[in-house]
């Protein structure tokens, strides 16, 4: 056996176990990149539709709606392809930390779920034609209405977001990019449907504009943070792998 300081051995195991619990170093960074890509697309969708046709915008809209699931797939892929080669190590649960965070996690989780429910109701209303306006931010939904499978989406989207809810709470708990992505998708949809049926340009001023800009900046900040932290975690993981001893013959 190669000589290795026992405290170093202990530290490596702890770090590895914590990383294994999340398995999201590179996926976190990619989530941040996804958000950074999705934001300008949302802003530019009118211009894109004008220049490249409605088909492209429909595709982009779908991508943005499915962003949380896309990230889930990325995370699973990263977890199984990059971060499982050395076997699992389960971290010892930190009860004190969990108790301390519990109220925050619970509160933010509830707020997210409330927001999500609101967004879904808005979505269903717009899909069913109860409230829509050509100039509203809900243009995305109006576009989706034109597709053949709009009724299918009415049924499927709530399932997607309900399935993503526990992950959103986990993301909040870990203060990670998934929460950002889920929140991003929900906030966009929420704003879209909250504004559905009202004149977009007339209402996009004052407090509304301020809240909107604030949300945008927050998302931008989280996305950059996710890229930075995710990349750092990935690098740390690689350093950890390099520090492991070579197997004896």
């Amino acid at each position: 056996m190669n000589a290795m300081d026992l405290s170093k051995l202990e530290a490596i195991t702890k770090d590895y176990a914590v990383f294994q619990a999340r398995k999201s170093g590179l996926a976190t960074a990619l989530a941040g990149v996804l958000v950074l890509l999705a934001m300008p697309l949302m802003f530019l969708h009118h211009d894109l539709a004008r220049h490249f046709g409605i088909g492209l915008v429909k595709g982009l809209a779908l991508l943005i709606y499915l962003a949380p699931l896309l990230w889930l797939a990325l995370r699973l892929a990263c977890g199984s392809l990059l971060y499982r080669g050395l076997g699992e190590a389960k971290a010892i649960p930190d009860l004190a930390y969990e108790q301390k965070r519990m109220h925050w996690i619970f509160g933010i989780g509830l707020a997210l779920i409330a927001f999500q429910t609101n967004a879904l109701i808005g979505y269903e209303q717009a899909m069913l034609g109860i409230s829509r306006h050509p100039e509203s931010v809900a243009t995305m939904t109006s576009l989706a209405r034109g597709t053949r499978g709009s009724w299918v989406w009415v049924g499927i989207l709530p399932c997607f977001y309900a399935a993503a809810a526990p992950w959103a709470i986990r993301g909040v708990e870990e203060a990670r990019a998934y929460a950002v992505l889920v929140a991003q998708a929900l906030i966009w949809i929420g704003i879209g449907f909250a504004a559905s049926g009202v004149n977009y340009s007339r209402n996009f001023e004052g407090l509304y504009a301020l809240i909107f800009a604030g949300l945008e900046l927050t998302m931008l900040f989280w996305a950059i943070l996710a890229v930075k932290r995710g990349w750092r975690e990935h690098r740390e993981y690689l350093v950890l792998l390099r520090s492991l001893p070579v197997e004896e013959v």
Binding site: M1, L9, T13, E88, K90, I92, E247, E248
Partner: protein, 107 residues
């Protein structure tokens, strides 16, 4: 060594199951996590498969670790976890060893 020097007595009473370097490394790793897979334990300790199996068996016989057999899909996965007895033994070993060290060797 039937009549040991009384000064050497504390050294001789060290738990030899824990004292062996490979087993000490194994217990140290296990004490830092709830459960550890064979593969990781092998990589982190740098032991060969056969050596690791032999040492974990000895530790299991001593009651210091337990083996958890499971399946991931169709692949069998062996993991280990330290027992309460193992934790106590490791702590006692650390304490005993620290007491035996000269002052400059203690941290």
């Amino acid at each position: 060594m039937s009549e040991a020097d009384p000064d050497l007595q504390p050294i001789l009473t060290l738990d030899r199951t824990v004292h062996e370097p490979a087993r000490l490394a194994i217990l140290t790793v296990l004490s830092a996590a709830e459960e550890v897979e064979f593969l990781f334990l092998q990589r982190v300790t740098g032991l060969s498969k056969g050596n690791l199996s032999s040492h974990t068996q000895k530790l299991e016989v001593a009651g210091y670790l337990e083996t958890v057999k499971a399946f991931r899909g169709r692949i069998p996965v062996t993991s280990f976890r330290i027992t309460d007895e193992g934790r106590v033994a490791l702590k006692a070993y650390h304490k005993q060893l620290r007491a035996l060290l000269p002052e400059e060797g203690k941290r």
